[in-house]
Amino acid sequence: MTPPLSELLEGKHLIVTGATGFVGKVWLSMLLTHMPQVRRITLLTRPGRFPHAAERVAKAFDISPALRPVKAAHGRDWQKLLQRKLFVVDADISLPDLGMPADVREELVADADAVVHFAGLTDFQPDPLKGLASNTFGALHMASLASELKTPRMIHVSTCFVAGRRDGRIHEGLVPGLSPNGTPFDALATAERLWEEIATIGGAHERIDHVQAAAEHLGWPNIYTFTKGLAEHVLAAQPVKVHTVRPAVVECARTFPFPGWNEGLNTAGPIMWYIATGFRDLPVVPGHRFDVVPVDTVVRTCFGALAQSLQDAPEAVYQVATSDLNPTTFAQTAELTSLAARRHAQRHGTTLGERLRAHTDIRAIGADAPGVFSPSGMSGLMDGAQELLGKVKVPSLLGRKLKGEAESRLRRTRRKLRNDARRIRQLDRMFETYTPFIQDHDWIFEAHHTQALLDDVHDSERDFLHDDLRALDWRTYWLDVQFPGSHRWTFPVMDRQTVPTDPPSTPALTLPGPSTHSIQGAA
């Protein structure tokens, strides 16, 4: 059995990227809550709109619900704990030198024990300038940093969907230099060639088309999976021992930081939002597996991979996925979402529309039968309605006052219809980008390495590190966790409303960075 992870982490210094993202934040929260024995965590982050990354991270952590367990476990001392353990460095992983001063880098690699790389761009069709920079070259630059450590170690968070356009069973492994469709290729040379080519292309759409063609040629369905896939192949050639964690669709937490926690937009959230709105035809293949995993299961796997890495275990790939050990399908999740929406409306529904919609179930209509109540069907209807409304003229028989009122109402209706039509077109495009995942392929991601890792935790840490993909009860998870969690944390993003946050603390959290503290910090 693996020794307690807290023992392995005692006195260790970790370099972490992507700590302000969905998975990274939950991982950090669990680390600080349950394993504060770690000596130091250096967060490499871009400052964004803040003068320094430390301010950005402090602001994000201060109000993030993901940090609630840290606050609960350490009480008033939670800020001191963060200030003692965290060290935030302004960095940009897309740059070869990570954009950090040489002396900071030197000090960092001399002291640190492992790199944990969460950062990445999860948009499915980003501008390849950003996608390649972040997902492929970012991973390469982090591996370069890791290779300078006393013991070169790296945990790399990838995605199951690097499997590309293949159906059936996907092994937890990688054949370096062989693309998903079996084409031998040199990943680094491909990335560098594409980088040079797109540098000369003026528009983002043209760059996307160019890289998309290269992705399809090698068997990847979109730029996200392509750039992440390239990263795995590139890392395989680096002088660093990499443990790769590949989550499938990461969704609401089952238990940590609390049931239902979610952040940002993942694949299931927008689909559930769609079901909870007026659309009734869902363009998915009902029998295909929908591989969803709770974020805390992903985080536990990352800890397991870290434990393996710190014990110098051989390199391995861990697929955090349910499609093999405990599959659910689009048909099941569509029905569960309808049932959950019905329950929500019955217990909390406020508007007539909510109550009415709750009495109509969604239909999973398949790939070849675009229904009238699907985004593409509705988009056509909206275009027709707009055209019709454009021809309507208020008769001059009405008096001046009545005519004025009628025209004003007509203008408002046209405007509303225009806005709704725009949103539906956006939704239509969103489903188009989801097509590889909801229609084209039926992947079965093996997860035996992951389950073995989740089973092999020390008894003293079972409460928070053990997990069982096979024991996930989809009905309970979907009705009690996934739908309520998405409703609270994801739907506001789709509705362009404010996502709830925790109140800022007084005094506000501040975090140390290179300008104020030494990297090694206090023991």
Partner: protein, 223 residues
Amino acid sequence: MTDSAAFFRLEGVLFSVDPAAVAAWLALRDAQPGDRLKGIGRVFLGALTSSTLGGLGADARTLSEWSFTDGWTTDRWLSLCEDWVHAHKTSRALAAGHDLLHRAVTHGDRVVVISSLPRTLAEALLEGLPVDELVADTIATDDRGLLTGELTGDGLRGRIDGTWLQRYARAHHLNPALSAGYGHSGGDVPMLSAVGRPCAVSPTLSLRRQAHQFRWPVVEARP
């Protein structure tokens, strides 16, 4: 045979529920409007058969009133059962029946509840009550995990008679003469006749007549 039991009818004694109304509530929540109409038709047919054919119809009614679940997923069935129980459990509870149940526990009786509702619903309603055994049927599932709409199990579709009670008493070393029975409708008469301490709870007209004839005590229970 020295131990005693208390046999409770769930419907009308512990909770004010009519299985046909529950079935209709659930049938109305089928996935598509067409299925809802068909489901309601099946429930209505079951209720009609029961009221016109009496005892013979009770079997047919119980059979058909849940047959609308044919082809349902267990997800839909369990989720909607939870929703029904969440919406109705508190308002349908009969305090007087619950009081009788607690008294039976104090008396040292083995508490047996008999229900015409499918087990999932009956179990959810009884959760938190000190019940030793529930006699109810389950809706069968096929090898794909879908419901077939047919009731299975030893629940006798909610109807028990003196023979069943005698057999049950022998199997559990109970003395029927020392046992109590709490019924609500005419269908409970065989059960009440087989125990030494019968009681009619908010009885229907037919049971009220029988209770009066046999001088069984009558308790009124209101939700």
